[in-house]
């Protein structure tokens, strides 16, 4: 027994050893034979990383090929928040402090950037932009210590002309979750990725599909630290197509400058409660009536699209949308809603001729004051300054802007509503494109409003407390006849209405681009003019109205409302048919100044509208801006400084 004991015990050892070896063998079998496939896949995934190569966007050019928006390379450090947040607090802090040291920013600043909620949770947040090449290299080399951090060279938008045409061009920003969803989600073939940048407004958005191009990708073999070892494959990105605008750089420059000069001189507004200065804006639209395109479009105050190259701060955004600072972000040409004032008289005149209430030769005696018939309260209306124009026919009524002449028409429309219907003016306005979007090829546009008995009744029905009555009175018709009352138009509608008259009834949906083309200039897509409607204008209306509108800029006696503004203009070579407007804004506030015109009067090429909020008289403020732009378009005048005109009138 004693001699056998060591043998027995060594037997125990043998059993233990055999079991352990059996365990190792079994595990080896399991890993390398039974589940080898999974591990091979895991190893494969380990070493491959697909890096998307964002396609450079196409450029945006003016009609002569002048570059308005191009691309430039920018070195950016981005942080993937989702990945960073998987780290433990301590580790996360370490990563940020390391990164802070590299990009020379305190970690607290990085935290602020990371707190940006305007981006989706999966979009990498740029924490340092336009950094040196060295920073890019250092981040890449130290990838292992910087999980979630990425350094990339991005093609970002460049704006060689600064703020020029900002509202037309729009801007590019990180795609948001809703946009991504709408485009089919992050995995849709040919779709967007979470890190994609898309056009957010203006041309950038309207022509997104042309501009975006096709992203490429590079497949990299990486080591355990994520450091690329070599390239396994690559698909080059394809740059998006260039968009050639109908905008002419020079015209746009002139329009913006003239508008800005005019607007700056009208800024004397203060908040009635706080006394703090308040900025009011303005806009101008120039349409090419032959092409059916936008030649220039300016909205003041404006902004710099370059601010959107990376994400803007909430403070910047607040400033861009602050009403006290004139909401620079808003494109007033498409979104501003204004009472048209006397520029509306084109509509009333056409409606009167159409209805047969007047002929061009019908004379009315204008004593400067008008008493509304069948009226019980506030029954008198006056001309501007109560000026009596005496014997007035259509031409003179437009030239001098006799309110009484049109009040009378407005009253008679209502009196004869049995025969003419309730809305002859509104119907004519609709034909000219008011009350509906023009269809300009830009993302957002307002429809405007046309007051009418039916609209009034519906409004009252919906909200009886907000209105005194749901009824429409003769006085309402009188107000509408001179573009007051609840009539609201956008500046582009106003220009397009005058363009429609100028072309004899062709109402375009204005295009902003002529074509798309590749970088070599080969045309990809021609953008054909779009006719929204072919309008039948009343027979015999064109000539007298044209005379009246030309008189407004040229006639010394009777004196046209824009005569002073167009003093010394080359009328012979480049006659302008125009109409001033001074729209009351109510509550004792200053008037909005308007001007609408087309030129050359007898073979029109351009139509223009100018609207300046709270500026005062249209003849004093808006007409000079239009003159400056038309003078440049005529090719006969050097653009000169916009000067308000003394002795203007309300009309």
């Amino acid at each position: 027994m004693t001699t056998d004991t060591p043998r027995l015990r060594l037997g125990i050892v043998a059993v233990v050893a055999l079991s352990l070896f059996a365990a190792l063998f079994a595990r080896l079998w399991f890993l390398q034979v039974l589940t080898a496939g999974e591990h091979e896949l895991a190893a494969e995934r380990n070493q491959r990383r697909v890096v998307p190569l964002a396609a450079p966007r196409g450029r945006i050019l003016d009609r002569d090929g002048e570059i308005l928006v191009a691309n430039r390379a920018s070195n950016v450090v981005l942080v993937d928040r989702a990945e960073l947040n998987t780290l433990e607090d301590e580790e996360r802090e370490e990563v940020l402090s390391r990164l802070g040291a590299i990009v020379d920013r305190p970690p607290s600043m990085l935290e602020v950037a990371l707190g940006d909620t305007s981006l989706g949770p999966f979009a990498p947040v740029p924490v340092a932009e336009d950094v040196d090449e060295e920073v890019l290299i250092e981040v890449r080399e130290r990838q292992g210590e910087l999980p979630g951090v990425e350094a990339r060279q991005l093609a970002v938008r460049a704006y060689p002309h600064g703020t020029l045409a900002a509202h037309i061009l729009g801007y590019v920003g990180a795609i948001n979750p809703d946009e991504l969803e709408a485009a089919g989600g992050p995995d849709a073939p040919g779709g967007y990725r979470r890190a994609s940048r898309v056009g957010k407004d203006g041309i950038e958005r309207a022509f997104e599909d042309d501009l975006r191009g096709i992203d490429g990708e590079v497949v990299l073999e990486v080591d355990a630290k994520g450091v690329p070892i070599r390239e396994l494959g690559r698909r080059e990105p394809i740059q998006g197509d260039d968009v050639v605008l109908s905008i002419d750089l020079d015209t746009q420059q002139v329009a913006e400058q003239a508008l800005a000069e005019g607007m700056v001189q009208t800024q004397d507004h203060v908040d009635p409660e706080t006394g703090a200065p308040v900025i009011f804006g303005g806009s101008t639209v120039v349409l090419d009536v032959k092409e059916g395109t936008v030649a220039a479009m300016a909205s003041w105050p404006t902004f710099s699209p370059a601010d959107f190259v990376y994400e803007i701060t909430p403070e910047q955004f607040a400033a861009l949308t602050d009403p006290a600072r004139g909401t620079p972000f808003v494109n007033r040409a498409l979104l501003g809603l204004y009472a048209p004032g006397s520029t509306w008289k084109l509509v009333t005149a056409l409606a009167g001729l159409e209805a047969g209430l007047i002929t061009p030769e019908t004379v009315l005696f204008d004593p400067g004051i008008f008493t509304i018939p069948d009226c019980s309260q506030r029954c008198t209306r006056t001309n501007a300054g109560s000026t009596p124009y005496k014997d007035v026919a259509l031409r003179k009524a437009l030239t001098v802007s006799s309110d009484v002449y049109f009040y009378d028409l407005g009253a008679r429309f209502w009196q004869q509503r049995e025969r003419l219907g309730e809305t002859p003016m509104q119907d004519m306005a609709t034909l000219l494109g008011f009350g509906a979007k023009t269809g300009v090829e830009l993302p957002v546009e307002a429809s405007g409003r046309l007051a009418s008995p039916a609209v009034r009744a519906a409004q009252y029905q919906a909200n009886p407390d907000a209105f005194l009555s749901g009824d429409w009175f003769i006085g309402d018709n009188v107000n509408v006849s001179i573009g007051q009352g609840d009539v609201a138009v956008t500046p582009i509608q106003l220009a397009n209405a005058y363009a429609t008259f100028a072309t004899g009834g062709i109402r375009y949906q204005p295009n902003v681009a002529l074509r798309t083309q590749d970088q070599d200039g080969t045309v990809i897509r021609e953008i054909e003019p779009r006719v929204g409607a072919q309008v039948e204008l009343p027979a015999g209306a064109r000539e007298p109205i044209l005379d009246g509108l030309v008189g407004a800029t040229q006639s010394e006696d009777p004196k046209g409302t824009a005569y002073n503004a167009f003093a010394d203009f080359p009328h012979e070579a480049y006659p302008v048919a125009g109409k001033t407007g001074t729209a009351q804004t109510g509550g004792g506030r200053e008037d909005d100044a308007l001007f609408a015109a087309f030129a050359p009067a007898h073979d029109p090429r351009y139509a223009i509208s100018v609207v300046m909020e709270r500026a005062g008289f249209g003849s004093t403020w808006a007409a000079p801006v239009a003159r400056s732009v038309l003078g440049a378009l005529s090719g006969l005048e050097e653009p000169e400084r916009v000067r308000p005109v003394a002795g203007g009138s309300r009309a």
Binding site: P6, R7, R9, V13, F21, A43, E221, D223
Partner: protein
């Protein structure tokens, strides 16, 4: 046939004396060990060549050093084999005290900290890990102690054994080097079980072990990184921490090898550095990925042969001292092989233990060869 240890020339021995120790060399053991060590050079080279080349360094430098270590190991074996193993009983106490001294010294500023463990002495361009020497010293002392009487292990001798293991184990734990500590415990178990420890002594030992571990956790004497290694192993929710990542990548590497492996130098997990510490603790992942099931199973067989031959020598030894020496070496190697391969394959927690004969490193290589020398010594002098 009593001892005739008069010095004689090697040639004379081979020619004249059929019972001469050299005639009884355990060739299978030596052959298997040499095969593993040869494979080691290849695997260490494969694990290091890319990263060294990338760093602009000599890609062969690890290979060369490992080859030097192997030669040093063989010299150690020859030295250990040269004297009759029974003479080593007299050295047991001295070598134990020396290794204990070194374990104390390494904790002073003379020692060097690597990977947050104060485990090394730096000697020129080589590093010495005193814990490796301690393993040998403990084997020697335990075998000496347990073979110095007859009959079952008395409580007195059992306690001496526990103390003789506990002292260096405690010092090793201070570095902290949990892996080596566990090896010492494995050695203790191997020797006292074979020496005939009473079941109740073993039960008491187990109780002490459990209490000790509980106390260490309770008094927060376990470093974070040790704790993480243990708890990460227990976590299976896929949320891998630093060491969980290590284990996962190791498993991936081995599994990706499949039946026949990616081929020598072709392992992507290996080349691209997904498995950390690959030339040392995780060397088995290189074998697994590049040589596949065929290669790693063969390696397992080689280790099996080694363990078998040691076991056989323990059985054949002419005295208890020889048997116990073999039992200690067997326990040491068996535990290290199982723990190291086990952690690479995800069935054991990760501890910093080298895979004997395969991992890069001089201390481990030389110690292992010296331990094998003891076994060879016992084997060849079983008749003399």
């Amino acid at each position: 046939m009593q001892t005739t240890t008069a010095p004689r020339g090697l040639g004379a021995v081979l020619r004249r004396d059929p019972t001469a120790p050299w005639r009884h060399l355990d060739w299978p053991l030596l052959g298997a060990a040499l095969a593993v060590a040869g494979l080691s050079c290849l695997m260490v080279f494969s694990a290091t060549r890319t990263s060294m080349a990338d760093a602009g360094l000599d890609p062969y430098s690890y290979l060369k050093r490992q080859a030097v270590f192997l030669v040093l190991g063989l010299v150690a074996t020859a030295a250990v084999v040269a004297l009759d193993y029974r003479t080593y009983r007299d050295l047991a106490a001295v070598s134990f005290l020396v290794s204990l001294g070194l374990l104390v010294l390494v904790l002073t500023p003379l020692g060097k900290e690597v990977n947050s463990a104060q485990s090394w002495f730096e000697l020129g361009s080589f590093q010495l890990q005193p814990a490796e020497l301690a393993k040998l010293a403990v084997i020697l002392l335990l075998a000496t102690t347990c073979s110095s009487g007859r009959g079952p292990l008395t409580r007195q001798r059992f306690l001496v054994c526990v103390t003789a293991t506990g002292l260096p184990a405690a010092l090793v734990l201070l570095q902290p080097d949990m892996g080596s500590m566990l090896v010492l415990v494995a050695i203790l178990l191997g020797v006292v079980v074979v020496a005939g420890a009473r079941p109740r002594h073993l039960a008491a030992l187990a109780a002490i072990g459990v209490l000790g571990v509980a106390a260490m956790f309770h008094f927060d004497q376990v470093d974070d990184y040790q704790r993480r290694r243990l708890t990460d192993f227990a976590r299976s929710d896929g949320v891998a921490g630093a060491s969980g990542f290590q284990g996962e990548q190791a498993e991936t590497a081995i599994g990706a090898g499949g039946l026949f492996g990616a081929g020598l130098y072709e392992g992507t997990q290996t080349k691209l550095g997904f498995v950390p510490e690959q030339q040392t603790d995780f060397i088995f992942t290189v074998v697994g990925e590049e040589l596949g099931f065929a290669g790693s199973a063969s390696l397992l067989v080689l280790y099996g042969v080694i363990i078998w031959r040691i076991w056989r020598t323990a059985l054949l030894a002419r005295d208890t001292f020889g048997t116990l020496l073999c039992a200690g070496v067997l326990a040491m190697l068996l535990f290290q092989v199982f723990e190291n391969m086990g952690m690479s394959m995800g069935i054991m927690p990760i501890t910093g233990l080298p895979l004997p004969l395969l991992s890069y490193g001089g201390s481990s290589m030389v110690t292992t060869w010296a331990a094998l020398g003891l076994v060879l010594n016992v084997h060849m002098r079983r008749f003399s």
